[in-house]
């Protein structure tokens, strides 16, 4: 039978298709994004969409489940924080069609603000949890998750990590299972989460979890690989793959796929077969603490640690003391941090902000987080999606109360983040008379995650033309009287917009609008900037815009023609007019 090379995310999309899923909603976030990017290929069989945020996505998918069809939502680990409200109550109410919530965690924070371990959500919300360890299991466990969801009347949390989602392995496909949709019948007792109903629902959840623990002791999702009796390893997710390479060939394994509730009877049975029991898991001691609490002797986190990703060589070193043999070549690479792309529209905005020492700028999650990096250094804080406006609000109020009147406070976020959870912050500022200028960096796309459409981009995930929501209209409806729309690449106009906003006596907001230059639908091939070596005095002012294409060589500015896209931000800051764009 043919096998295909699929990433975990591609296999999850395939698994959803095969499971007969009909309604899918998500907000993009690394490492989960490609699950939904791979769903439109099945659009004849299912509906998929980008929602404005993870809470919306979860509610849309849950609504479809209530209506009787199998449904899916997916998000990165921090997205589950946003979606937690409907998730916790969906667990009490239960499902009609199977309902799976994918949480893609990011140990080592390759592209995240924290490495929270979302397995704790499964326990806290009382959800069954499945954890695939490779691409084939991503497909198989997705199908199994829908069986569990419907059999136990609970939503299922399917948890991956970056290495499960973004690693590729060989996968065998199955057939799509077309499921009949039952006639809808109103069930208020089940789905109206009033206190009276919730009181009846909670005991049912506890009963279902007890039944699920018994199920987990016999389910093929949890399996023993018995070899020797000296060492036993309880493990799950990607840590299983690492442990298989790190432990000796005669170690026995209890490989868990259904990890909440833990099949404690099975674990006890396995522990009795081996002399020494290891629990190998990334991040927190989620399994180890429960196994120890059940009175089963084991070791784990004392050896493996709970910070960052593991790998086979790290496990060998930390468990068996075998340090890998490495060579020190005696030369060190300097850091190569990510940077705003050449021609990035955010550069002009952050350069403008960097010129003012009295500005306090609360940022947000997106490419523009890089505005806080050297040499721009134009951010004071970045907390979470949508936090830019509201963190700024709190800072501004604190400055007012402390009498620090010299501070000028800005809140900054992108267009997709504005639609995600920034709009409520924009309302907060007007409603509570905030002394804050909200700034939307509108590049017409969800940039950092790789160009997903959003309510402002005019397209849907399935490629259809959509209503383009106008940020200025939304701000105007909230009561902003002075909305300054500016091209951030025009530094003089950008500076004027900032000053006009600060001088405004009525609520003011700035929209810095220019499309991301990586958008394929838009042509950016205008020309490249060149340095007139006779005019350049080597002052390095052009380096202050932080463009990867601009450098200094032999004490003169130099622009890499392979990287430059001719945005002219560097030319606008040159005091000697030594940089000019050569038009194509």
């Amino acid at each position: 039978m043919e096998r295909y090379l699929l990433s975990g995310n591609e296999a999850l999309a395939r698994g959803a298709y095969e499971a007969g899923v009909k309604v899918c909603s998500a907000y993009p976030g690394t490492p989960s994004t490609e699950i939904f990017e791979n769903l439109p290929q099945y659009r004849d069989a299912l509906y998929c969409e980008w929602a404005p945020n993870e809470k919306v996505a979860t509610e849309v998918a849950y609504g479809a489940s209530i209506a009787g069809v199998r449904s899916l939502c997916a998000m990165k680990h921090v997205g589950v924080n946003v979606a937690a409200d409907p998730i916790f109550t969906a667990a009490y109410n239960g499902v009609s069609g199977g309902f799976v919530i994918i949480s893609a965690d990011d140990p080592s924070m390759h592209s995240s603000q924290n490495e929270q371990d979302n397995r704790h959500y499964a326990r806290a919300a009382k959800l069954p949890m499945v954890e695939p360890s490779d691409s084939q299991e991503c497909l198989d466990f997705m199908r199994a998750a829908y069986e569990i969801s419907e059999r136990f009347d609970l939503p299922v949390l399917l948890r991956t990590t970056t290495r499960v989602s973004h690693s590729k392995g060989l996968v065998r496909f199955g057939e799509r299972e077309e499921r009949p949709v039952p006639a809808y019948a109103r069930n208020t007792r089940k789905y109206i989460s009033s206190p009276a109903n919730a009181m009846m629902n909670h005991p049912k959840v506890e009963e279902a979890l007890a039944a699920l623990e018994a199920y987990g002791c016999t389910s093929p999702l949890n399996r023993m690989e018995l070899n020797g009796t000296k060492i036993g390893v309880v493990t799950a997710s990607i840590a299983y793959q690492y442990a298989k390479e790190a432990f000796p060939a005669d170690a026995s394994f209890l490989k868990l796929g259904l990890t909440n509730p833990l099949p404690m009877k099975l674990i006890r049975e396995f522990a009795a077969k081996v002399d020494k029991l290891y629990v190998i898991e990334e991040l927190d001691g989620f399994m180890e603490e429960q196994i120890k609490a059940a009175g089963i002797d084991c070791v784990g986190k004392d050896l493996t640690g709970k910070i960052y990703e593991l790998n086979p060589q790290l496990l060998q070193e930390r468990i068996f003391g075998r340090k890998p043999e490495t060579v020190d070549v005696g030369v060190s690479a300097v850091s190569r941090p990510p940077a705003l792309c050449p021609g990035c529209p955010h550069r002009g905005f952050f350069y403008t902000m960097s010129r003012h020492k009295d500005f306090v700028i609360a940022g947000d999650i997106g490419c523009y987080t890089l505005g806080g990096s050297a040499p721009l250094n134009a951010l004071d804080s970045v907390v979470c999606m949508g936090g830019g406006f509201t963190v700024a609000m709190g800072m501004a109020r604190a400055f007012e109360l402390a009498g620090q009147t010299d501070k000028k406070v800005f809140g900054v976020m992108g267009d997709s983040t504005f639609f995600h959870s920034g709009m409520t912050g924009a309302a907060e500022i007007v409603y509570n008379h905030g002394n804050v200028i909200p700034v939307v960096l509108d590049n017409s796309i969800t940039g950092m995650t790789g160009h997903q459409d959003n309510p402002g981009s005019g397209r849907t995930l399935q490629g259809d033309i959509a209503e383009t929501l106008k940020i200025e209209d939304i701000l105007a409806a909230y009561g902003y009287k002075n909305i300054l729309i500016v091209d951030p690449q025009d530094l003089a106009a950008m500076e004027k917009a900032v000053q006009d906003a600060l001088a405004s006596t009525e609520p003011a907001a700035i929209i810095a609008r220019r499309p991301c230059l990586l958008i394929k639908r838009i042509k950016h091939d205008i020309g490249k900037c060149e340095v007139d070596q006779d005019k350049c005095i080597g002052c390095k002012k052009c380096l202050s815009v932080g463009c990867p294409a601009v450098m200094v060589e032999n004490k003169k500015a130099k622009i890499d023609p392979n990287q430059c896209v001719g945005c002219t931000v560097c030319a606008q800051v040159c005091p000697k007019s030594a940089i000019a764009r050569k038009e194509n």
Partner: protein
């Protein structure tokens, strides 16, 4: 476990390391190997240092390797070779593109590009150094630099039992087929195995 091999392809976001890894994986699959591959996405792509790993053998578990475990490192940029040198086995081999790309911190004048990257690697490992960018320009397109490095890699690994030319022909779009086949051959010729 001893029968598995792993390759680490390192460079700067946007240099085409992922496509190169895909060609490698297609050939390995055709030859009947179990294969796993790991990529990076998101924030790390914005001009940052990137690495792609390919792990193959009769049976492969982990998609990623730790330090001291790579059989070959293919560096699309020479400072990246140094950055990942401690991932290479002491008897491993390095294919290095003699090409320098300043990082944003170097361009901003905050630090210097390190001297002697190539020499440091050559003093400690079996290395194949080539100017893939120049070879690519000579073939008419800078875009085929990654397939030149790919040609050097399979020659360095001695993996001649796989028909790489047909794998490349199947993987790249038709209009770039001849260019990439020439690139593959040029990459092989640039290495004395």
């Amino acid at each position: 476990m001893k029968t598995t091999k792993s390759a680490l392809l390192v460079g700067v976001g946007g240099q085409g390391a992922i496509l190169t890894a895909k060609v490698l994986v297609s050939g390995l699959m055709k030859a009947g190997y179990d294969v796993k591959m790991s990529e990076v996405h998101g924030m790390s792509q914005r001009g940052g240092s990137v690495s792609t790993q390919v792990h193959w053998g009769e049976k492969v578990y982990s998609p990623v390797i730790g330090k001291g475990a790579a059989d070959i490192v293919v560096a699309f940029e020479k400072m990246e070779a140094v950055r990942y040198a401690d991932y290479l086995k002491p008897d491993g081999v390095a294919v290095i593109n003699d090409y320098e790309m300043a990082s944003s911190s170097i361009a901003a004048g905050l630090c210097q590009y390190p001297e002697g990257c190539l020499e440091a690697m050559e003093n400690h490992f079996r290395c194949h150094v080539l100017k893939a960018g120049e070879i690519a320009q000579g073939l008419g397109s800078a875009k085929c630099m990654n397939i030149i490095l790919f040609g050097s890699m399979v020659k360095a690994l001695g993996m001649d039992d796989i028909d790489w030319e047909s794998v490349i022909a199947e993987t790249v779009p038709e209009k770039f087929r001849e260019l990439n086949l020439s690139a593959y051959r040029a990459g092989r010729d640039a290495v004395s195995a």
